[in-house]
Amino acid sequence: MTEIFGVPIQALMGQLMLGLVSGSFYAMLSLGLAVIFGMLNIINFAHGALYMMGAFLAWMGLEYFALGYWQALLLAPLAVGLFGIVIERSMLQWLYKLDHLYGLLLTFGLALVIEGLFTNGYGVSGQPYSIPEELSGAFNLGFMFLPKYRAWVIVASLAVCFCTWFVIEKTRLGAYLRAATENPKLTQAFGINVPLMVMLTYGFGAALAGFAGVLAAPAIQVSPLMGSNLIIVVFAVVVIGGMGSILGSILTGLGLGVIEGLTKVFYPEASATVVFVIMAIVLMIRPAGLFGKER
């Protein structure tokens, strides 16, 4: 069998595939962050908590209303999105004119409150949520068994990421959005309701996090702390990709997932730090991130 640095090529291919799966989560979450930052100039620390809410709503739907995975995949993001809109209208909208720091502190506080409430209500050890019937089992790819669910995660997240990119970069609505980011006063003067667009954007970013949460529910522990374990890595992804860059966050998310996956094979102890090492290097060479524009 061919080997690279003592690792069989088949095992390597398998690990690459898995890296792509965790990269999909990074991509989806960092995309939400990038959209929110690009439009609202808010560094949304509540993103991890919103992701956790998505997973929890999926579990609650099953537990209390007998809603299956597919309904949850539709309804939970909607609910999280609505929750996001409420936050934006009631709290965030007063902070746009202030320094970034205020938005960061507010959302960080919100994250702690949300996680605290869920911990209080449901404990920390998590809730059971199993893979839907249709997606249990695995594909034999020759070099590995790829569980169907993981394949579905890649497909779903790529589709969502592509649609988001397409809407923002290629449609008229996206053009309004970009214009509103560039020069809100002028855009408003053309008769476009900028506050409404900002509100919907935050709601959409929150819904993306909720969607990622539902996708994650069958694969990892549904617990109140699941978001805070992930969010720091996702922030590193956003910084590497360039704050606010849509395409940047998608590509970096996937790329870093793969790099992290490879680290898990060659030197597993470093797999938790590799993303941050890359971040440090990128910041030294390109302070605005790989895809960011310096202002």
């Binding site: 095992a11 799966v21 920390v124 069958p218 374990n229 992930l230 597993p268």
Partner: protein
């Protein structure tokens, strides 16, 4: 409300009088510091271990005090306090110091998290009080860091590793691969289990060290799968164990290999559900559905807590009861005298049969090697285990001949 208060105070005044009327001989008064026995439950109230101990431990200690009062009608006052140590050694040891210095706490229990436990053990020794630890895992508490004031009550890493290490290897699972959390606890769990596996004629094929709180375990599991070992040992805890098991199931690892949890509890099984965990094996210090005694107590606990007790919580009840009995027997709450009684009296309750506290502070009692039931076998909620073997206390725990505790005379 006022009337209720009034009634209670009248009742309180009348009760001792009634006792005298009935002619009960009052035993001689105990020599107590601050005129009462005070117990402190120091635990993780909101962090990663709060489901294992936390509010459940507080409830268990409260039940123990109420039951003791009801059954033995002691002629001394018993009080309880509790606090959150936030899994921080400094917070824990400061709280213990405050309790000892200003609140007259005589005994501290629970104290899960080995780091906090080791710090609190030092303070307890310095202040000459007692810690009956029902929560921490490290064997250091009864070895290098043993003190005349520590009792280690429910379990330790040696007992957790030893049971499955020997039993599973002898039952044919003679090649092992470890998934190890990359810190002191994981390493010691892996080492203890490896020793037991090798001693039973098995072989360790390798291990992979994963970072703490790694959310995605699929990559590590693929490596475990590629090792072709018959048994995959999970030398991790809490969320890491849960995520390892979820991924193992998804990648079909459980079809050809057996998963053995090295610190898995009923809390984790409840969080994952039986479809995901069936067939897993591990060691527990307590199981609610063992016999009529355990069922009776656990159902009472369930009524208050809406959860079945973990071994830590059941152990906390037992520890508090044992402590109160020792105080009554010693006639004082002075720690040396109470410790002497604790080490003399055998422990017989729903939690432990013929439990014995050794010279090094280790409470030796039977442990249970359990296998998780198939969903079809489970008859009611929380009915999760088949007991594969009862490991007698003297086999489950580290023998005194291997003790590294300076208190043990050899």
């Amino acid at each position: 409300m006022k009337r209720k208060l009034l009634c209670i105070s009248i009742a309180a005044l009348l009760l001792p009088a009634a006792g005298n009327v009935l002619g009960q001989a009052k035993p001689a008064a105990l020599k107590l510091s601050d005129g009462m026995v005070k117990i402190g439950v120091l635990t993780d109230m909101s962090g990663v271990y709060s489901d294992l101990g936390g509010q459940g431990s507080v409830t268990a200690a409260q039940m123990a005090i109420e039951d003791y009062k009801a059954q033995y009608k002691p002629n001394f006052k018993i009080e309880m306090v509790y606090a959150d140590h936030q899994n921080k050694a400094d917070v824990g040891s400061n709280k213990a110091r405050e309790w000892f210095d200003t609140q007259g706490v005589d005994m501290i229990t629970d104290v899960l998290n080995s780091g906090v436990a080791l710090a609190v053990a030092k303070v307890t020794q310095e202040k000459k009080r007692i810690m009956i630890n029902t929560g921490a895992a490290s064997t250091r508490l009864t070895n290098e860091d043993c003190t005349p004031n520590t009792v280690h009550y429910v379990y330790d890493t040696y007992a957790l590793a030893n049971g499955p290490g020997k039993a599973v290897t002898k039952a044919g699972g003679d090649t092992w691969f470890f998934l190890t959390a990359d810190y002191a606890f994981g390493a010691s769990l892996e080492k203890d289990t490896s020793d037991a596996v090798k001693a039973s004629g098995g072989k360790v094929l390798g291990s992979v060290k994963h970072p703490l709180n790694a959310s995605d375990f699929s990559s590590f599991l693929l490596q475990a799968q590629a090792s072709k070992a018959k048994v995959v040992g999970l030398a991790n805890a809490g969320g890491d164990t849960v995520n390892s098991i979820k991924a193992a199931n998804e990648f079909g690892l459980t079809k050809n290999q057996r998963l053995v949890g090295l610190l898995t509890t009923i809390v984790d099984i409840h969080a994952l559900g039986l479809p995901t965990t069936q067939g897993m094996m591990f060691t527990e210090g307590y199981y609610w559905n063992l016999n009529d005694d355990t069922r009776a107590w656990s159902r009472r606990f369930f009524a208050k807590q809406k959860k079945m007790p973990s071994m830590l919580q059941a152990g906390t009840y037992s520890a508090v009861t044992t402590y109160l009995k020792a105080v009554a027997a010693a006639g004082t709450d002075e720690s040396a005298a109470v410790m002497k009684k604790l080490k003399e009296l055998p422990i017989n309750d729903f939690f432990a049969k013929n439990g014995k506290i050794r010279e090094d502070g280790r409470m030796v009692h039977d442990m249970y090697l359990v296998e998780v039931k198939k969903p079809a076998e489970s008859k009611e909620p929380w009915d999760y285990y088949n007991i594969k073997a009862v490991i007698p206390g003297n086999e489950a725990y580290q023998p005194m001949s291997l003790s590294r505790c300076p208190l043990v005379k050899k």
